[in-house]
Subunit: 225 residues, 2 copies
């Protein structure tokens, strides 16, 4: 399902080259539950952005369901992101002018679902993250952890086959964090592929497999679950 070959991402700042990702070769089969761990600045979000087709590599290949992503048009990439991938961003990326409910509805707009059905699915997703009574709040009227949970609900509302979650519990108390983990585990049991970046050792250990990144490279890859 997810296959990278010597994937690299370099940035140029002045005369320096920052090797955010350096020759990463990785295979994540469908229906896996994988944690990605590593120090701050080690390349985890960079990897996720490439896997989520939100960014293009400097070199190397990325094959998603057997198709070479670098060969795709912008339209094809947008369609893949909408149909195949749910993304929880480290910085949430909620739309400031939309309420929590409207933010969660957004991915459904592309899927041709009726407005009534959209509202109902979005309400259900918000309920799963414990935010029913915050549906009409704007992001600025929500706590940090509530914004994070809206971002999670939005990533899950279309039940996409692949869920990429970048530090989904960083702003949550451990109780709320474990509720979110149970959500991901349930989706995994129902067949979704989950790739979860986390700094939380407990949450990382609940996956089937832990991939460790350091200075843009994979340094460890172990089956645990």
């Amino acid at each position: 399902m997810i296959k990278t070959e010597a994937l690299s991402k370099h940035y140029h700042i002045g005369d320096t080259i920052v090797k955010a990702l350096d020759n990463v070769t990785l295979h994540i089969p469908a229906h896996s539950f994988v944690s990605i761990v590593g120090p701050s600045g080690s390349g985890k979000s960079t990897l996720m952005n490439l896997l989520g087709c939100l960014d293009t590599p400097t070199s190397g290949r990325y094959l998603l369901d057997g198709m070479e992503v670098s060969n795709m048009s912008d339209n094809q990439l947008a369609e893949i992101r909408n149909r195949k991938i749910g993304f929880v961003f480290q910085g949430f990326n909620l739309v400031p002018k939309l309420t929590a409910l409207e933010n969660v509805e957004l991915p459904l707009i592309y899927s041709g679902v009726s407005k009534k059905e959209r509202r109902s699915l979005a309400a259900e997703a918000l309920e799963k993250v414990g935010l029913t009574d915050r549906s009409s709040h704007l992001p600025s009227e929500l706590s940090g952890g509530q914004q994070q949970r809206v971002a999670i609900a939005r990533a899950l509302v279309t039940r996409p086959p692949i869920i990429l979650a970048d530090e989904p519990t960083g702003n949550l108390d451990s109780h709320s964090g474990r509720d979110i983990l149970k959500l991901f585990q349930k989706l995994h049991e129902m067949g979704n592929t989950i790739v979860l970046i986390t700094h939380d050792e407990y949450i990382a250990g609940q996956a089937q497999r832990i991939i460790r990144i350091l200075d843009g490279q994979i340094v460890d890859d172990v089956e645990v679950g």
Copy 2:
């Protein structure tokens, strides 16, 4: 140093009233190291914003160093924020167009320090959070945890007597998180007052005192250190 009496903050959303903070009476003496814990949405950031003079209460009083904050003019409030309080925001609030170094310099601009001295103090603060080689990066060119560390460096650069830190390690691996904790502990030994909101049980336990918040109210307040 910090004294609140029946401090409340209510929001109106449609017909509902959200009691973000509800009758909080609190005394934090100078030179304390206090953790504030509680579930997502319980009122921690709301309390911090009031203590940091970034917001005004719906009712109740806040006395900072014996002075009633609600009686102050905007100019007086701005001066207090610049001279007395260093703030690490849950959402970082870095200036997008400024480099890491320039962001950290910002609080020094008000303090009448020369440009050369500003650069040197800001560089020193960035070094303390391990980001010397990211000084010229813009926030968008930094990882989530690196942005968080720039926000921490900025809060500390003027050595303000009171440091309010809202989830300063939420995006950091445990190693980086403990480096940040040591930073705060060192400042505390040097006489600063530290108020730290955290979801991390280990970090919370390293303070002298843990205040627990639930549904906008203080439900527990224990000396631990």
